[in-house]
Subunit: 285 residues, 4 copies
């Protein structure tokens, strides 16, 4: 039922007339705009962002022509960058995990239920524990151990598995730091989930330290991974209420409930091209 | 600083090319689109909604010309309805209250702080109690008693005060039922706030009955008033958590905290032309 | 690690000295109170509720003696009812489902990871669809079709399976109405989950009708089942924010996210004896 | 209607028999326990916390006798500390503010409508701006300017105003750092409210920096003030959802909505003796 639907994501320096030009190109090609979100970071001299969903009969065969028309108008005339996507083409997503299953299973369940518009060609883990769970969903599971001081070897193996095969990598509680070289080489976005607190508790034992401060909320943040660990642009966040009644371990369990929900939402929005990166921030339409 | 900014709200039957036509008219008139939200109720044969914020130098003097161009394109060619608004023209809002002060004061505070883009030419109440509070903000307060079986007289007095003087009426815990005749005659939107529960407890003593059922959330709903009491299109809702520890009276207090927040949000969004009515539902951009 | 821990739930007509008597009995028996919650529905002439967690060395062998002492004091002297529970004895829970998997999978998964202190001797469904999922967790799955006008036959089969074998029945999106006879005969509490809205939309197609009214929150309510369908005492509720962007089907998906969380919380609290029924309301400690 | 109600807060090293002893002393004195919350930080060797609300006829005249009995039992026998409070005796609260009015007005308004069980003998500010607002509530307003490098002088003036006159100091967006000497000398608890984010943005311009990272939630934390600025034990926290649509200034406004709610809750709970400090954490019953 998504046949003939497309998405167009445009971003760049704002100037008058962009919306008009985009919609005129689409109208000239016979496309009907189904939904359009547009914003500017600043009314004057800001950055421009637009997400358009459109319907165009015979989209697949007309795609090259539409792309050409957009390139002439948007790239050549306005100096903007854009992405043109067929809605029916599901993104291919690799999931990296360690031992915790909550984020992984939530993604697998939702994908099976048809809530996430993706295929999952592989799950990779530095531990063998979750292999059975993954394979029950008919999804290949690759165990790539990460030995101390030999991370480069493991990352090379990751790259062999991933390159050309996926459009997105999701770190679903993957407890290894990913190197800048890996991020450069893999060539696709990487989404991570991590716990978060008000205030922040950096370093080891965050739940224990949060408890010692008496926090009343535990949360989770899904973000694109950059070289600055846990500091990349935020896609989604949420929190859950806790109290003195819960032990540090119970805080962690409640945190897990938020993590899986936040990660699933972030992945769903990325798959629907709702998230536009803009430096270290995001626009989520 | 809102000088030269305008808003254009368009709605009607969807068909290809509307966004393009709107943005082309704006571009031809020299306007730069600052923000644009658009949606359709259904990809095929649905209803079309668009909110556009634009910047046009000398907007006040150019308004008539722009309006004319829009009418030709949108009304005559596409059969759509639209509203064209200057951002700097604040809407004039009358607030109707009874004895409870929480919603009223929240609106007055926010208006004083510059959070709500409105003027308040009058507050009307069927009780004298809140007169001092209102007048301390420099706002006229009119006491219009509503005697039993003489509501028509009071409503006539309301209409004398309101007609031509306001662009919006807000019922901020006004404990009288408003007649269909009043709604017809007043000629401007009327927003109401009422408590809401999961499940609903119709009739008298809702908080007591909610408590007797053990509800864990109390909420509030802000909506446009229609002849179907409390059944008009919803603008905003929220809830707050409660427990067995709270008495029915404390539930009511917590409910009041939600009511004032929900009403203030609904009014703010209406003032910014973010809310589009569509039959008995709303689009909130 | 729960060895030697017990829970004592006391309820009845309030009068002075109950807390003191309970804690004195426990102290005399050598028990140390680890956590105690107590409340009264009204300071004078109300109903009394107390949940106490205590540690008593050799609890299993001392249980009968403690029970006897409590009976003398609480039943005979104060006319109260009480339940005495060994924490290490997990409750046996049957889950009834139809075709939707979200609530079921959440319960199975949480039980596997040790979050829910229960055993699951069986899952019963009126459809065969979820059999494989259930059996992968090593749990028996019984398919009991419910033919139109022959519900009594199915319920009899249910009772054959359930009676004496379970301490709790959970309706995890079981789309059949349960009869008053069944509730009487099964002899254990039955927990249900249903969607809930502000305002309520009774009857068929609730998500579509909620959308037509423009609701901004969809929610879920977990409650004990009584003969008044969906009107039993509420254990837990929660909501999630929605907007005009979501179709009725997407509202339903978001509703599913709330349903599984609310049901899992309600079951967890019931298993920990945190929920005390009081007529048609609950105290949740 | 709070006549003859008392609260007893007990804390210290846990050991068997405390609850029993407390409730026995109360029962012997003729008191009826209305509500009791008790918890231990750890089942074995933890710290003990108990809050008890009781009704005792002629409490005022019997207070000394009850206190004596509690001291013998709790202090002398168990080595615990306790506080005994008459519910009808409202705490005296001083509010310190700068220029932002949202937290101040929320406290004044709630006190006027009877939601906060306190008297407000004074509001102190380093700016004159809010004097009229405060005095309209019939509350004295003292302007104590804080000149650069002369904070010690201002704090001395604060202490002259406060000492002996108040039971609690609330910093309601008071934009000055309070010295350790002041905290020592003032001799009563000090509650502060500050914005909070996931992740934290220390230092200047937190809302702008939060926006640059794309945060989706802004929040507030109410805590007891200690010498470690903004690091004291947390009483209450909450968050509100934001998006890329909001400017840094709008984030700040939404933050203000959370701040006033969180601070009001924290103050209400403190006034009802629901908050027990335990090192750098809290138990909130």
């Amino acid at each position: 039922m998504n046949e003939d639907y497309g998405r167009l994501i445009v971003q760049g320096a704002d100037r008058p007339g962009i919306v008009s030009s985009v919609s005129t190109v689409l109208a000239e090609q016979g496309a009907n705009i189904v939904a359009l979100d547009q914003t500017s970071s600043d009314p004057s001299g800001g950055r421009f962002f637009q997400r358009t969903v459109f319907h165009l009969p015979d989209l697949s065969t007309r795609l090259a022509e539409l792309d050409h028309a957009l390139e002439q108008k948007l790239t050549d005339e306005f100096g903007l960058s854009y992405r043109l996507v067929e809605v029916k083409r599901h993104k291919r997503v690799a999931i990296l995990v360690s031992k915790a299953d909550h984020c992984l299973l939530d993604l697998l369940w939702r994908q099976r239920r048809g809530e996430l518009h993706m295929s999952i060609p592989m799950v990779i883990s530095n531990h063998p524990d979750l292999g059975d769970d993954v394979r029950q969903f008919g999804i290949p599971f690759f165990h790539v151990p990460v030995e101390k001081d030999k991370k480069a070897i493991a990352e090379k193996e990751h790259l062999n598995l991933l390159k050309g095969n996926v459009d997105l990598v999701v770190l679903a509680r993957y407890m290894q730091i990913v190197s800048g070289e890996f991020l450069d080489d893999v060539g696709v976005p990487v989404i991570n989930i991590h716990h978060s607190f008000l205030p922040a508790f950096m370093g080891a034992g965050p739940y224990q330290r949060a408890k010692e401060r008496g926090v009343k909320l535990v949360g989770a943040t899904a973000h694109y991974v950059t070289e600055d660990l846990d500091e990349g642009p935020i896609i989604e966040q949420d929190v859950i209420r806790v109290s003195h009644r819960e032990s540090a371990r119970e805080l962690q369990r409640k945190g897990a409930d938020v993590e899986r929900l936040v990660l699933s939402r972030a992945v769903a929005w990325h798959l629907d091209d709702r998230v536009i990166r803009d430096g270290n921030t995001t626009v989520v339409f």
